[in-house]
């Protein structure tokens, strides 16, 4: 039961992230980084929901991969988990940047410097979401349920 509560809490937190990532009032991305023309384009081109979804996908996907696909006694130490977190924290901003860049290119705009600075926050969000995902889903893993911190 306790474990399902953790899962629900994780899903709720992730959903809140998505909501605040797409919001035009309190937008979590704009709270962290704001550059007038760049953020306007991001909002108007509907990039926020997609990169938020991509960040969630990479983070939860990374956690799921670690806990249920890798799920190996050879990789059940905290530093193995940290390595996956590192990979997620690199992969998520790279994917988001590629998407971002593709959308901007399609619309003939260039915000390379801003995009790079913007994606730095994706590093943080991806890492945070990976932690949330880990603590939501690890309980059912046969070999890694006690990683990174024992239950």
């Amino acid at each position: 039961m306790k474990h399902f509560i953790y899962l629900i809490i994780g899903i709720v937190l992730t959903a809140l992230f998505f909501v605040f990532a797409c919001s035009d009032g309190f937008n979590i991305y704009e709270q962290m980084y704001f550059s007038q023309g760049f953020n306007d384009k991001m909002f108007n081109l509907n990039v926020y929901p997609v990169i938020a979804a991509l960040t969630i996908l990479v983070s939860w996907g990374g956690a799921a991969t670690y806990y249920y696909a890798i799920n190996s006694v050879k990789f059940d130490r905290w530093y193995h988990w940290l390595a996956v977190l590192g990979a997620v924290a690199v992969l998520a901003p790279v994917i988001c940047y590629i998407y971002n860049d593709t959308v901007f290119s399609t619309h003939g705009v260039m915000y390379v410097g801003e995009s790079i600075q913007f994606e730095m926050q994706t590093v943080l969000f991806a890492a945070a979401l990976f932690v949330i995902a880990s603590f939501s889903m690890r309980w059912w893993s046969s070999n890694c349920r006690h990683t990174p911190i024992p239950q």
């Binding site: 190996s72 006694v73 050879k74 059940d76 130490r77 059912w140 046969s142 070999n143 349920r145 006690h146 990683t147 024992p150 239950q151």
Partner: protein
Amino acid sequence: MRLFLFAIGGTGSRVLKSLLMLSAAGVRPLDENGKPVKDLEIVPVIIDPHKANEDLKRTEALLNDYRDIRRKLYGNDPNADGFFANRIVTLREIMSNSSVTLGDTFIFNLGAVENAKFREFIGYDTMNEANQALTSLLFANYQLENKMNIGFVGSPNIGSVALNEIKDSNEFKAFSNIFRQGDRIFFISSIFGGTGASGFPIMVKNIRQAANLEGIENRDALSRAPIGGLTVLPYFTLEGNKQDQRIATSDFIVKTQSALYYYKNTLTGANDSNVNSIYYLGDQVRSKPYLYDPGEHGQRNNAHLIELIGALAPLDFIGKPENKLSDPDGYPLPTTAYEYALDKDDLSLNFLSLGHHTRRLIYEPMSKFHLLFLFLTTGFKNMIGQGFTEDVPKIKSDFLTSQFYRTLVDQFLLGYAQWLTEMNDNMRSVALFKPGEIDMAHAIEGVGVRKRLLGHYKVDNDVFKAEMNKLSKNNPSYSERTVEFKLMDLFNKAAHNIFTERYENIN
């Protein structure tokens, strides 16, 4: 049911050690339906005046370790499944309040016998001349001068006099007080030495004639008790002192013949019901020579196949149905004799050399126990803090310094490794497991791992860890148990699954 198991002399101790190893592996006596015998308690009593005997000391130490380990695992529950399943207790442990005082030990106290020379014991110096002359005819001078704390040095004629004291001992009284209808008695002894050859018939006589003894309770139950015995025929040779001929290999056969005649007339004849089941075991292929030692230097003989097979005899006896041992009125039936044959007459034996019945009984438990030995000595330490060790109850790093773990790993498993090595080095060589092999996939001699689509199955510590993780996950059954039980039970179950799935089936 209780089995009172009297292990007499050096062979008795060594067979008992093998029984301990089988019991540690989880080999349990099976009834006629193939189900483990319920509510069983084994009460070993070692009868040997030679207290400095190394074989006795090693067995006693292992018995104490076994008892400590089992108590930690299952408490006083006689019904357990897994490693250390058979409950082994001392007489003292199962005694109710009684006027008899006993030490909490597996060794029969033969104080009056141990501390005297044989001539003092029989009062030779106080005999008249005629009796002294008769005594000198019956006993050689070295026998009269024998200090019995080194045993009876292969002289059953000394033993048959000295061990008659047993019936007056506190241990015998305690045993007779505890014995109840439904309990059984088993003797382990050799027939070609001194202590065992003489102790077995004397003990049987005293039990069957309990009605005539003073201060003995449960006389009727004792005189009707189902009694079994393992009589070990010559299987080893001695090397060393050519001058001292008190014990000579060349005498073994003659002594055996004489004793067998005696047994036939008094114990195991066709219409005799003193002993219900007698198991004869010997080997014409003799062991590697043991160092000649009548007792002064401790007598330490290597473990041997005969002792391992011999240890199956009491288990077989326990599983016998009541109607095979007693008539409908509860009186013991005449003797049935049993022998044992190998499936293959090899000089180096593995599980495939044993008959189907034995294989079915010991192959899986012993293999699992050997895997446990490898697991605990090569992989377990590094697993603490991960996986199943972190499930409730948690196995923390201080577990490695606990009394239980040290007794199990540093003492019992060390004794197990020694026992295996000794059997392996002996003749016939018992090579059930490859000596020094820590690769679990190749540790069982003659048995490999199964093939799968690509190559063979893997078996290593990681495979065990993964299986134990799986079995431990969300498993509430351990939350009320001790960490010791959790570790051993998890391993036992994991080993069963892995064994069934990954190793070749030779049963």
